[in-house]
Point group: C2
Chain length 219, copies 2
DNA sequence: GGGAGGATCATACCAAGGTTTAGGTCCCAA
DNA sequence: TTGGGACCTAAACCTTGGTATGATCCTCCC
């Protein structure tokens, strides 16, 4: 399973090596995990507190966070909530020595990848990390696509966005024209501009973009 | 939150009243839950074992299942796995007197709505049921849409399905024709037939259908 | 054998999509 | 004031999309 470093993926440019972040106030735990991950060639960074971790500017590579439920000043669960509120969606793996079921439920409901009780088997942790990294990789891929689409959408004028919505909803040019009270030729011209700006190679292409952008009939 | 019976929804024909199923070998628990749900006008059915529950032909209404982790003969977790394997996707709420964290994690990973430790507050259970019913309602809505689409897709011939994939991918008729080695007019005729059979009112419509059906570029 | 359904194609015709060229107005910022 | 961008439109022109009619060929099945 955990075969080692995510050897440079042939696609997208380099620097795709995943990172595992560990936050635990117990130095021995940090050391143990650090060793474990290094043993499988996983880049690792450890922190003694949530605050310390937040200082670190998060890199743009697949990563995950291993968190002790019981942290000084801020509980792991609260920290998880903080991150979510801040729009940071790094997958989290919890560890606990004295956790209980309600904590576990809360963490899992909030999207935690796993919730391990100490002591845990190395392999369980590695499996969880593999899952977490993979999840983050997928999330990042989707986020990148969406960001590009949104950037393209931002170059559209209000009129173009309006017409894009109507066109992708399935209206004919003449219907769009009637709907917004302009001549059909005007719609055609806007439409061409939309295809260019959005980089859509076909109408189905544009429809899928609109879909991802949440435009028109959500379905 | 739990305001009572899901009074006839204006859409789809009646019989939409949700049902809560309870499986627990402890008669007093069954009685207590039964009373609790009746007090908020929720239709309830209780069973003493997983086997008993399976005898019951599941009705076509939003429902959820409340399961004790510790069941005679078959653990709640294993039963959850059984149901999943059998393609039964009813949302599950677990109860436990002596559960542990790994159990909780496994249940939640497998999609459980909640995992309550006995004794729990009535309100917690009611909240969980509300969430579960709502989740099932959404799932059913999506499933119904998808079933209709699949039924329509089934009426397509192999050729039509092939052309549908290419058309929704964004190819022009002439490109489709070249791709499959027929005349453009043939593609046009098939295409018209596809629109009719699928009940698509426009190309964007068809594209969205293809998307839901997992046809073409998944994106 | 004969009919039904599927696939193919031609011809003809019309509707819809799309670009180019060439304007026009309005408004905002340099 | 001037320039540019957004928006609007017309005319001309070409490409695609889509339907109708009619026909051939094949296979499967009664």
């Amino acid at each position: 399973m955990v075969t080692g470093r995510a050897t440079s993926r042939s696609t997208s440019a380099g620097a795709e090596e995943p990172i595992v972040f560990v936050v635990d106030d117990d130095a021995s735990v940090r050391g143990a995990l650090s060793n474990l991950f290094r043993s499988v060639d996983l880049r690792t960074e450890v922190f003694a507190s949530a605050h310390e971790f937040l200082q670190r500017k998060l890199p743009n590579v697949p990563s995950c966070l291993i968190l002790d439920i019981r942290l000084p000043r801020l509980s792991g669960l609260d920290f998880q909530a903080e991150l979510a509120k801040a729009g940071i969606h790094i997958p989290i793996i919890f560890m606990t020595g004295h956790g209980d079921i309600p904590m576990t439920v809360r963490a899992m409901k909030a999207g935690a990848v796993d919730f391990l009780t100490k002591p845990f088997r190395d392999q369980d942790m590695l499996d969880a990390v593999t899952t977490a990294i993979e999840r983050d990789r997928n999330r990042r891929d989707e986020a990148r696509v969406l960001a590009n689409l949104r950037a393209a959408l931002d170059t559209l004028t209000a009129r173009e966005r309006q017409i894009m919505a109507l066109v992708t909803a399935g209206l004919m040019n003449k219907q769009v024209a009637a709907e917004i009270g302009v001549a059909e030729i005007t719609v055609k011209i806007h439409r061409g501009q939309i295809m260019r700006k959005m980089g859509a190679k076909s109408l189905p292409d544009l429809v899928r973009m609109a879909q991802l952008l949440g435009i028109g009939p959500q379905t």
